[in-house]
Symmetry: C2
Subunit: 632 residues, 2 copies
Amino acid sequence: MQLKVGIDKVFEIDSKTSIYETLKKNKLFIISPCGGKGTCGKCKVKIIKGEYNCNNYGKLLAAEKENKIVLACQTFVLGDLEIEIPKESVLVVGEQIATSRYKDLTLYLETYGLKPNPIVKRIVVELTHPSISDNISDIERLRSALFELGIDNIHFSHLITTDLSSTIRENNWKVEVSYIERHNNTHIVFLISGTECHKRYGAAVDIGTTTVVVYLVDLDTGHLVDVGSTYNSQMRYGDDVITRIVHATEGGGLEELRSAVRGDIKSIIKSLSEIHNIRVCEVVSTVIAANTTMSQLFWGLDPSSIREAPYIPTLNRYPMWTGAEARLPVSPMSPVFTFPCIGSYVGGDIVSGVLASGMHRRDEIALFMDIGTNAEIAIGNNEWIMSAACSAGPCFEGGGVTCGMRATNGAIESIVIDRKTLEPAIKVIGGGIPIGLCGSALIDAISEMFLSGIIDLKGSFHKEKTSRIREAETGLEYVVYTNEKIGRDIIITSADVENVIRAKAAIYAGVSLILREVGLGIEAIDKVYIAGGFGNYLNMERAIIIGMLPDMPTEKFDFLGNTSIIGAYLCLMSEELMKEAEELSKKMTYLELSATNSYMEEYMSAMFLPHTDISLFPTVQVKLNNALGVEN
Amino acid sequence: MQLKVGIDKVFEIDSKTSIYETLKKNKLFIISPCGGKGTCGKCKVKIIKGEYNCNNYGKLLAAEKENKIVLACQTFVLGDLEIEIPKESVLVVGEQIATSRYKDLTLYLETYGLKPNPIVKRIVVELTHPSISDNISDIERLRSALFELGIDNIHFSHLITTDLSSTIRENNWKVEVSYIERHNNTHIVFLISGTECHKRYGAAVDIGTTTVVVYLVDLDTGHLVDVGSTYNSQMRYGDDVITRIVHATEGGGLEELRSAVRGDIKSIIKSLSEIHNIRVCEVVSTVIAANTTMSQLFWGLDPSSIREAPYIPTLNRYPMWTGAEARLPVSPMSPVFTFPCIGSYVGGDIVSGVLASGMHRRDEIALFMDIGTNAEIAIGNNEWIMSAACSAGPCFEGGGVTCGMRATNGAIESIVIDRKTLEPAIKVIGGGIPIGLCGSALIDAISEMFLSGIIDLKGSFHKEKTSRIREAETGLEYVVYTNEKIGRDIIITSADVENVIRAKAAIYAGVSLILREVGLGIEAIDKVYIAGGFGNYLNMERAIIIGMLPDMPTEKFDFLGNTSIIGAYLCLMSEELMKEAEELSKKMTYLELSATNSYMEEYMSAMFLPHTDISLFPTVQVKLNNALGVEN
C-alpha cells in the first residue's frame, strides 16, 4: 500500500506499521516526545484521503478529530492513504540552520585559538581494593583517589551516590569519573565503566520564539554529529513572547509552555540519539541559548514580571542546574548551562550571538543585529557593548506574513523582478515547488517591488503597473507564484508590506537611537554582523534599499546566520568560552528603548521606503534615480 | 454502633466513618503514609468479630485477606465490630521513648552551654522596589540585599528559583529567607512571607532496626512539640540487619525497604503535623540518626557490601541532602542531616549517642553501650574514642523472645520473684493488663530466676522448684503471668533464656575485648552510660547479676534511654553540635571484633550466669552466697 505525504512524497506502507514508524523509516521525522506511545499527543497528521484505523486519539481535541487530525503513532492504513503533515509537527533533521561562515564548526574554535575543552572532564581512577585493615567507605576511597589526582572539594549528589557502590564493584575498582569544577567545588556528573557510555556528546540548544534548533556534538572532537530543528510548540499558545507570557499567567499555562518546548527539545535529542545510536548517559552536557522569556519558560519560571514595567526577569545569570531538573533525555546529573541574559528583552541568545561574532574581542567597533522573531542589536568592541531590543515582530522569520515561512526546504529565498515585464524570478531552498516566502525573499520582494514601482515609498500598491497585482477582500496583493497543484498562490498583500515596513522601521530606529546614545555616527562602525533566520543568505544591498540596514558599504556587512546556536556550540566545546560568555554578559549594558521619547520619533521617520530623510540613504537615491531614469 | 479494639478499648462508630478515621478521632493512630487514601496498604487491622464492608483491599495479599485483615481506611462497620490492631500498624504518639535524664530537652542544650541555634537561619530582607533605572533581575536584587546583610556565595536551587518572583511580589518586596551556610556556600532553603509558614519546626529521627522514633521540635524554643514512634515497617522483610541487606539485593527489594521506612517516618511526621496544625513548609530541618545499614536504606543506597568482608559501606559521611531527596513531608529544599557513621556496624546512632552522653567532652574515661537490636560500645574520653559492635541480637528490644515487646504501654518493665514462694510480682508500663515483656523485664526475670534457683548458671530450668515451670512442646517454660482475657500466657522459655545468655555474652565479650585493645582494666572506667530501648529504666544491679555489665559500683552507671534520638535533637537545635558530631565521628576509631581471634574465646567464657570466671563478678558471688545461705 502507498502513503502519499504532502504534494510530492510517496512511501510504501503496510497495515501493521504505524504512519509514525513508516515516516521515520523514510527519514521523515515528526515531533513525538513520548516516542510513539500515544501519550504526548504531538505527532499530529491530517488525513486527506483514504481508509485508516486510528487506535487512540489520545490528547487530541474533538475539533481536531473532526478535522481528520490523527496521531501518526496510533494510526494504521487500511488501503492507500494521503496525508498532510502540519508544519508544527515536522522535525527537520540534518539541515543546518544557516551557519554560513564555516561548514566545519571546529573552525570556530580555531579562530579563538582554542582546542576542545568541554566543561565536563573525564578521568580514569584506579582504586585500591578494600580490606579489613583498609575499610574506609567507597566514597572516602574515591574521594582520596581523586584528591591524589588533584581533584578536591567534591560534592556527591544523592543521585550519583545511589549507584556508586555497584558501579565501582562491577568495574573492579577502576572507573571513569565525569565531573565539573565550578566555584571551587567539584560536582560528580557520573561514574562509569570503561566500556559503557564511553563516548561523550553534548547538545547545543537554541530556543527561538518560533524555532528550536539542536546541534548534537561529539565533545571529544567538536564535530557536529547531527542537527535537528522544529517549530517551537509553544506557538499554539501564541506567536510572540507577549501572548505566551499572558498564557503563562493562566491556570496551568506555565507548565503547558514549559512542557511544550521541553517536548520539542526532548523529541529532537531522542530522534538524533536514535539515528546515531547514542545513549542517554552519553549526552553529558547541554547549553541553552534563548531569549529572556524563552529561558524562563524552559526552566518553568513564571515570566509575568517581564511583560510589565519595569520589566524584571526572575534571573539573568542562571546557576548550573542539571539535566534532570531540565527534564531532558540526557545524563541526569549533567550540567545545563543557560546563557546569561542582559535584561528582559535582550537575552542569552544575543550574548551567544555576540560571542559567536567575536566582536567583544576586537578593537574595532561593530554593530551586531539578530533579526529573529524580534530584533535585538548590540554595538561595541572589546571595551564596551551596549544592547537594545526593537519590537520588530516576527515577519522576517515568516511570522505574521500571509505566505511567510521559515527558511527550510520549499521556501523561496530570493526574488528578482524584471524591470520591464515586472515578472518575478524566484529561487527555492531545496529546489522543489515553492510553498512560501522566507525572510530574505520578503526583503528581496519589497525592495524589487519598490525599485520597479509596483509599490511606492509608503508601500502602497500601484495596481496599474502589472496584472500580478489583484484585488482581494483584504485589499491589493501581488502574486509571486501560482501553481494549481498547491491549491493556493504565493502572494504578498498590502498588509504584508505594511508589516515589513513597520518591522524594518523598528530595527532602523533602534540602530539610530543606540548610535545616538553612544555618541557615534554610522561612519564609526567598522563592521555589521547580521544574524537571524532569513535563510542561507541575506542580500545586504536590498536590506539597505528598504531601509532596514543603514546605508553603508556592503563589504562592512557580514551575514552570520544563526549565531545563537553557534555561540551555544562554542560554550559546549570550551569551558574558557563559557566563562567568557559570563564575563561578556557582565560587560554588556542594556538600553531600554521604550524609556526614551526619541524612539517613537525615529520610528515614525523610518516608516517609509527607505526613510523620510532620503539623504541618509545616498546609494538608494542613486538606484531610485536609475530606476526612474533620472540622472544622478 | 461500637468498635471494640483489642481487649480493653471501645469507641463509638457510625457507618459513614472509616475505622481509620474513627481510631484517629479517638487518638489511636495507625501507620498510613498515604493518609487514608487506600493506596499505601499499611493501615492494616484484623477483624475479630462482626459485620463490615471493605471497599478496597488495595495492596493486601490474598493470604491477609483470608486472614480477615482489612485496610482501616477502606473499611466501614455494618454493626458492632471487634478488631485487633497488629503491633506493626500502631503509631504511638505522645510517649517519650525513655529519655530519663531530663523531661525538658532544652536542659540538654544548657548542659552544653548552648542556646538554640539551628542550622537553618532565617532573616527578614527588605528589597528596594525595581524601576526602569534599577531593573536588575529579582535574584540579583535579592543577592545584593543579602550581601549587605553579610550573606554571600548564595546558591539558588532550581526549585527555590521557581517560586521566587511571585513570593517576592506577593509580599511586597519584603520576605523572610531561610538559608543554611555550609562549606562557605549559602543555600536558600526557602523564601516566605511574614505571615505564612511563620513557625519553624524540625524533625529528629531515630531509625532503629526495630523502632522508628520522631521528635517534632519547635526550632525557636527547642521545646518538644510531640513524639511519635512505630515499628520499623522493614521488619516484614526480616528482623535483623543482615536479612534486610539480603532482601535489598533481590529485585526491587532495596526500593521496598526504602519506602517502608520512609513510609513510617512520613506517617509519623504527617500525623504529628496534623495534630498540631503544622504545615509542611514549616518543617525546615531534619536530622537522621541511624545505624550504617539503616542510613543507607533510608537514602536508597544498596547496602550489600556492608554484609560481606571487608564490610564496606557506600559512605560514612553524608552530604547534606534535601527533604525532597529524602522524600519526606517537609519543606523540599530543607536540609536533612544524616549522622556520620564510623564503620559498617557502628553507625550514626552511636555517634549520636556518644554526643548525647557528652563523654567526648570530658577527661574521665567512659564506656558507652547502646543496646538496641544489636549492641554497640564505645570507650574513651575527650582525646580518643574507640568503638565496636557486638552481635547481641534484638532480644533486649523484644525481638526473638517468645513474649518480647517494645517498652511501650502494656509491657512488663520489672519483675521481682519472691524467694520463698517463687511467685513473681510485676510492674506494667501504663499500668494496665500486661501483654509482653520489654528488655528490662527480661533482665529482671533472668536474674531473679537465677538468684532464686529457678535456673542454674547454664540457664537450665529446675522444674522441681515451682509449678510455674511447665513442659511445652518446645521445652520447659516459666509462666510470668496468666490471664484468660488475653488468651495466652506471658512466659519465658528455655530458648528465651538461651537467647538472653547469648546476647549478654556477646556484649560482655565486646566490652572485655575493647578494654584489652586499649590496655585498660575495668577500674579505669569512671563512668558507664547505658542507652537502649529497655524501658524507662534499667536495673544495673540485675544486669550485672546476669553478667551483661561488668561488675562495677552501680553509681558509676547511668541509664540514658534512647540517646540516638537525643543526639539527633541536639544537632537539630544547634549548628555547633552538628559540627561537633562531624568532628567526633572523625575522632572515633572502629574495632572490628570479628577480626580478632580472642572474641570467640571471650564470648564462650561469658556464656554462663554471670561468667565462667565468677571472680570477675565479686558482688554477684556475694548475692549467690546469700541466696544459698552460704557465708561470705
